[in-house]
Amino acid sequence: MANILVVDDDDDIRETLVDYMNARGHHAWGAGNGREAIDMVAKEHPDLLITDIIMPEKDGIQMIIETRKKFGDIPIIAMSGGGRIPASVYLAHAKALKGVKTLEKPFKVTALLKAVNELVNGAAGQ
């Protein structure tokens, strides 16, 4: 069981993923943007972050970098549906970081669960 913070400005995505992770035996909750997420990481010390990239207030990349600086190597899953620029380009930034996995939207929730388990187990194994 891991404590998971799901960061996405899209309510449907955030709630769906929180529910799914909770249903699969994790403890998950959500944040609507990067700024909120940073506050929550500071307060609630999640074991893992699942974050969107393009968000208002503070985007995913900024959030990831700030998290890394302030809170060390929390495992992170970055996801993006792209926009004018392909998702793969956005995600390329995130990919370059240690302990970050990336998923292009739309993905299968089973793929997300697999990534979560790998990261949590990997972190636990270290």
Partner: protein, 660 residues
């Protein structure tokens, strides 16, 4: 009685005073000599106060040259000149009219009349001399003048007729009853009939009904509204703009109508092309904007269904329906991807690709899935060379064309013939291709074919001949876009109910036109354009860009890696150098530069770093990438920029010379 305006030159004060005292005269100016007179005259001419006559003191009469005033009045002969002589002076016959001082007002008036008459006579004589007529009588003079005017008018008329005759617009003149009185050559051509066949006929007898009815319609409208009529009509050989107007005499009586037909087909073609480009732009914008939201929606749907399936373990029937939803989600996801491909001109993973191998791969895949009624015939010439492209794009071209062919086949059975062969394109070709080696891919099917009208629209996005639900109408527009981006050509030949053939020409080998030809031009026109990337706009960034600008470079400042990438993607060729104020957020900066070098491996770059930074940049572009440690001296900085640009020029030259 109207006062006579006179100008006195070289007259003494006494004379001037006398002239001023005459009530029938107005002294508009005086001058001591002709130099001054011309200057004063110029001022008078400006205010349109040219005097009727010049009075000249006889002492300076020999200095007078009418030509001095020629530029100031319409014609030098128009000036009436009267010389004022002293009583003791002898009369001399030198062509001037004289008046003896002192004189009375009537005397002056009479002398001026004489002078004017003589001037007029001279005018007439000159005119006659010029025209070689010896007659001097007033009537004949008038007749000659009239004749001259008539001749000029005639000449003008002839010029007008010749213009109307030979202009590229078709012109018809019609009498008020609608009968043809005149038509020019261009109109003969458009109507396809000789002038003699049409003169006197009523316009309703034109071969083309469309033209006749438009013209009749126009004439009726004009009869009611009196306004000219303008409209477009499509005739057999093109689109024309028809302008019809009434011709009236000076008193407003209707003489007839003029109809002017201008061929605007080519203008239309240009306009259509422009509209097409605008449409594509709109699609691109739409694609980018919508894709992000669409992916979120699809993910929300898919994730919830998956969650339901996992948590509730549905029965067999439930499973069936859930799977359908998931299949639809997957389909939707693919569509968004396809749609996005339209908007992306990012060249990803470009390498040498064998079109032949890709063909075998695609047909192998499809053959397994198609019903037996469709047979594939594959004909790949072994000598075909590889092309330089994104393998995925080549796959997509072939997949879409073959799919399209399969969809076109209806009924019992059909064949799909695919061939690939090398072709050499000459410099003058109808396809608009650059000369060189190409491979030609032909995908032909024995399907239902497509009409010419639809063929013109087949590459438009969202255009589909398939029933709704069968296709999105994106496949061929994606193919078109890819082929264009590879500097190739796609065309089709079709016979309705028989067959359709798509011809795709793709340039062989490393024919990266954008970097070989466009780029150096782009770089050498005007000042170099530098993209300056910084983290925060205020942060110590203002100083060095200002130095660059002062050195004549064009600098665009952008904040943030994402924004920079966006800006770069929008127009990668716009920039000649990239400078990062400092390495933007470690990871970001690296990915950003990787991305930039992927698109423009040739672009020089400068990265600022601090000694304390321990960032590894392992980009394989060492020769064009310079790291500078901050703080850096202005001179060093500018030198670095200059050296980088000179290196670039060198490499651009090297790129142009053929390498073996």
């Amino acid at each position: 009685m109207e006062r006579i305006n006179v100008f006195a030159v070289g007259c003494d004060d006494k004379l001037t005073e006398q002239l001023s005292s005459f009530s029938g005269f107005s002294l508009v100016g005086t001058a001591p000599d002709f130099d001054k007179a011309v200057k004063t005259f110029r001022l008078l001419a400006v205010s349109d106060r040219i005097p009727d006559a010049i009075l000249i003191a006889s002492s300076i009469r020999h200095d007078f040259h009418a030509s001095h005033f020629a530029t100031l009045v319409n014609d030098e002969h128009e000036l009436t000149v009267l010389v004022i002589k002293n009583p003791d002076e002898e009369f001399c016959d030198d062509g001037f009219v004289y008046v003896c001082s002192p004189f009375t007002e009537p005397q002056l008036r009479e002398s001026l009349c004489t002078a004017t008459k003589i001037r007029n006579l001279k005018l007439g004589m000159d005119f006659l001399c010029r025209n070689g007529t010896s007659s001097t009588s007033r009537e004949e003079l008038d007749a000659t003048v009239l004749n001259e005017q008539f001749k000029a008018t005639r000449r003008l008329q002839q010029m007008m007729i010749a213009t109307v005759q030979n202009t590229i617009e078709g012109i018809v003149l019609v009498n008020p009853q609608g009968r043809i009185e005149y038509l020019n050559k261009a109109f003969e051509r458009i109507a396809g009939k000789k002038r003699s066949e049409l003169i006197g006929k009523h316009i309703k007898y034109f071969e083309s009904n469309k033209f006749s009815s438009s013209l009749l319609h126009a004439l009726k409208k004009i009869a009611i509204s009196h306004n000219p009529w303008k409209g477009n009509i499509r005739l057999d050989d093109g689109i024309y703009e028809l302008f019809v107007g009434a011709i009236k005499d000076r008193d407003g009586n209707l003489l007839g109508y003029a109809a002017i037909l201008a061929d605007i087909s080519s203008r239309r073609a240009v306009e259509n092309k422009f509209i097409q480009e605008q449409k594509m732009d709109a699609v691109v914008t739409l694609a980018g904007g919508v894709a992000h939201d669409f992916n979120n929606i699809i993910l929300a749907l898919q994730a919830n269904v998956e969650t339901l399936m996992e948590l509730r373990k549905p029965d067999e029937i439930g499973e069936k329906y859930f799977k359908r939803i998931l299949a639809a989600c997957e389909h939707a996801g693919l569509m968004v991807k396809k749609f996005l491909n339209l908007s992306r001109n990012i060249r990803e993973e470009i390498s040498m690709v064998s079109v032949g191998d890709t063909l075998r791969e695609v047909t192998g895949m499809l053959e397994a899935s198609v019903t037996e009624k469709i047979s594939f015939e594959l004909n790949i010439a072994p000598e075909c060379k590889d092309i330089y492209a994104n393998p995925g794009s080549v796959f997509e071209i072939i997949m879409n064309l073959v799919h399209n062919a399969m969809d076109a086949i209806k009924g019992d059975s059909g064949r799909i013939m695919i061939s690939l062969e090398p072709v050499l394109i000459q410099s003058e070709n109808s396809l608009g291709l650059a000369p060189g080696e190409y491979v030609r891919l032909v995908v032909a099917d024995t399907g239902e074919g497509i009409s010419d009208e639809l063929a013109g629209r087949i590459f438009e996005p969202f255009f589909s001949t398939k029933k709704s639900g069968k296709g999105y109408g994106l496949g061929l527009s994606v193919v078109h876009q890819i082929v264009e981006s590879l500097n190739g050509h796609i065309g089709l030949r079709s016979k309705p109910e028989e067959c359709t053939e798509f011809h795709v020409y793709l340039p062989v080998g490393k024919q990266d036109n954008t970097t070989d030809t466009d780029l150096p031009q782009n770089q050498h026109s005007g000042p170099e354009h530098i993209l300056w990337i910084c983290e925060l706009i205020a942060e110590e960034s203002a100083e060095l860009p200002a130095v660059l600008r002062a050195s004549g470079y064009n600098v665009t400042i952008v904040c943030g890696a994402m924004e920079a990438m966006d800006m770069f993607n929008n127009n990668p060729l716009k920039f000649d150098m990239v400078i990062s104020d400092k390495v933007i957020r470690a990871v970001d900066g690296r990915a950003l530069f990787k991305h930039i070098f992927n698109i423009r491996p040739d672009i020089p770059a400068i990265l600022f770093t601090r000694q304390t930074d321990t960032i590894e940049i392992s980009l394989s572009v060492a020769n064009k990438l310079v790291m500078l440690i901050k703080p850096v001296e202005e001179a060093t900085f500018i030198d670095t920029v200059k050296i980088l640009f000179s290196k670039r020029d060198l490499s651009a030259r090297l790129m142009q010379t053929p390498e073996q």
